[in-house]
């Protein structure tokens, strides 16, 4: 008996250290396929856009384009950075109703560029740099997600004020580009003189109002950023993302995702009364790998059965329509190569649904762009 004690202890330690993952080991192996290495496989991908002819991706400070065919085919991405005259770095791209914008610069100052034609074949043609009316430096694009949870209804340009006595002046303006955007069609948000010390990170609309997530604040404005007001609620952590869904039955409501703070993980909250009251719809604040959840983005794919939630270092998860039990990396177990790749522990920078609704795109930090087709399997671009 005395001799068997070490063996029992050793087996107990081994068993205690076992972590099976979300999928059975050999069941997962059965569906695993070779992940092809693509052009973007090592890039940090920040954003994605499309028009009637092409896809556009900002990744690794470059602009990549490819023809608008199925993302599951073997078409390759072309480095089109040099097509933006005067810009050496491309920070972001976005599209609003077929209009494509790029945020590009030389490393210190940036400009917004608009694609002048969507019917190009050899290289995209960009207009001259758009100047913000306040003279600020544009630093980020924030797509305003429509009430279907995935389309982009308008585009916000987050602007950084010029230096004041050597100090950054804050992000005190947000510019709105609408679907008919031109350089003259900008509206700016400067809510009652309140300086936005942190940039707006996410925006969504319910068709009437626009909701803006900015640090611990959730702003609600009119259709054109008019009459901004803060929704008074304490979610416990800073907000990172907001999504408004209507038109479905089980998923309607206003969602916010929060960041991790200290030892507290983030959550996804739901409000069904336009922000008056909120309920957490995530039961866990840690991923299956015991990492604190920190949400980065929310999206409702076209099949409208689950909301996808991207995280900072825990991949993405799917929130079920009827039972919000899941945390990232536990509801993705049978989606092809997701579990076997490093996606479950990666940073999801954005989620994007193609206009035809057939593909969900997932941008990552240093792991390129991934696409999920209707068969739910993930492939790397």
């Amino acid at each position: 008996m005395k001799n068997t004690l070490p063996l029992v202890l050793m087996l107990s330690v081994l068993l205690g250290s076992c972590s099976p993952g979300a999928t059975g080991m050999f069941a997962g192996l059965e569906v695993e396929t070779k992940i092809p290495v693509g052009t973007l496989s090592k890039a940090t991908v920040s954003s994605m856009a499309e028009d009637s002819g092409h896809f556009y991706v900002a990744g690794g400070l470059k602009l990549y384009t490819r023809s608008l065919v199925s993302l599951t085919d073997s078409a390759t991405w072309t480095d089109s950075t040099s097509t933006i005259t005067g810009a050496s770095q491309v920070l972001a791209v976005a599209s609003v109703a077929g209009h494509v914008f790029a945020l590009a610069g030389d490393g210190s100052t940036n400009s917004v560029y608009k694609l002048t034609s969507s019917s190009w074949t050899s290289s995209p043609a960009w207009g001259t740099a758009l100047t913000l009316s306040g003279g600020e430096n544009p630093v980020a694009f924030v797509p305003v997600i429509g009430s279907d949870g995935r389309s982009i209804s308008s585009l916000l340009v987050v602007a950084e004020s010029p230096l004041i006595n050597g100090t950054k002046g804050g992000f005190n303006k947000v510019y709105l580009f609408t679907s008919s955007a031109t350089q003259d069609g900008l509206a700016s948000l400067n809510p009652s003189g309140v300086k936005l010390s942190s940039p707006v990170t996410s925006a969504a609309t319910d068709g009437t109002s626009i909701y803006l997530a900015n640090a611990s604040y959730l702003w609600k404005t009119g259709a054109n950023l008019a009459t901004p007001a803060v929704i008074s609620y304490s979610w416990g952590q800073d907000l990172s993302t907001v999504l408004s869904v209507s038109g479905t039955t089980a998923l309607n409501g206003l969602y916010v995702g929060t960041k991790a703070l200290g030892t507290a993980g983030g959550s996804v909250f739901l409000s069904t009364d336009s922000g008056a009251t909120w309920t957490s719809v995530t039961t866990n604040t840690k991923s299956a790998a015991s990492a604190l959840l920190c949400f980065t983005t929310l999206l409702l794919p076209k099949d409208a059965t689950r909301i996808y939630a991207g995280t900072l270092g825990s991949g993405y998860g799917e929130l079920r329509a009827t039972a919000f039990l899941a945390t990232p990396s536990t509801e993705t177990s049978n989606t092809g190569n997701y579990d076997v790749s490093t996606l479950p522990t990666s940073v999801v920078t954005f989620l994007y649904a193609t206009a035809d609704g057939t593909t969900v795109c997932l941008g990552t930090n240093s792991l390129g762009l991934w696409t999920q087709g209707t068969d739910k399997t993930w492939k790397q671009q």
Binding site: C18, F26, L29, K34, V340
Partner: protein, 196 residues
């Protein structure tokens, strides 16, 4: 002359006796308390997986290799009990390595025809399986058969074929019970046995 005939007759009569003694006292004869240390190494061929519903599927693994060390104790000339540890590695489609480390208890019967032995055995225990940063413990059964050439009283060499049957079991909710699999692997190993 007479003396020479007597010597030849004595030698002639003693040859059958010496031959009989060779047949009985071969050096592969083991007695209780004898021990055997076996080192095995060879390729492993992943065969297939099987769900609870009986559905067969490819393991999606490359051929791999195994290395093992066993210690057995003879209870009589033909039967031994022992235990051992194995290590097996193979690769998935994306280059991740599957490691399986069985800790086994085994029984072996040795059928003998000097200088050959034909060990037939069965092993059981738990295997620590690891793949893509996940780990789990699976019970297993390994029937085996082999052939050994007894080169000397201390050393035997040969070949062992084994069928590894791992039970990769889950009880839900994550991983789901339906993710349970029976895993079949075929191991063909060169074996060196040291008797002491």
């Amino acid at each position: 002359m007479k003396r020479a005939l007597i010597v030849l007759a004595t030698l002639a009569l003693s040859f059958p006796a010496l031959a009989a003694q060779d047949q009985v006292l071969t050096f592969d004869h083991r007695v209780v308390g004898d021990r055997a240390l076996t080192i095995e190494m060879g390729p492993v061929l992943p065969l297939f997986t099987q769900s609870f519903l009986g559905t067969l599927a490819s393991t999606n693994l490359t051929p791999g290799g195994s290395l093992g060390l066993d210690v057995d104790f003879y209870l009589n000339d033909l039967f031994r009990l022992g235990g051992g540890i194995r290590g097996m590695a193979a690769f998935g489609p994306n280059g991740h390595t599957l490691f399986v480390v069985p800790l086994m208890f085994r029984t072996t019967w040795e059928l003998k025809s000097f200088p050959w032995s034909f060990p037939v055995g069965i092993s059981t225990g738990v295997a620590l399986a690891s793949y893509n940063s996940h780990a789990w413990m699976d019970p297993f059964v390994v029937p085996s058969a082999g052939v050994l050439w007894n080169m000397s009283p201390s050393w035997s060499f040969g070949l062992t074929a084994s069928e590894w049957l791992l039970a990769d079991l889950y009880f839900g909710p994550s991983p789901a019970t339906t993710d349970s699999r029976f895993v079949h692997l075929f191991d063909l190993s060169l074996a060196a046995v040291y008797h002491f």
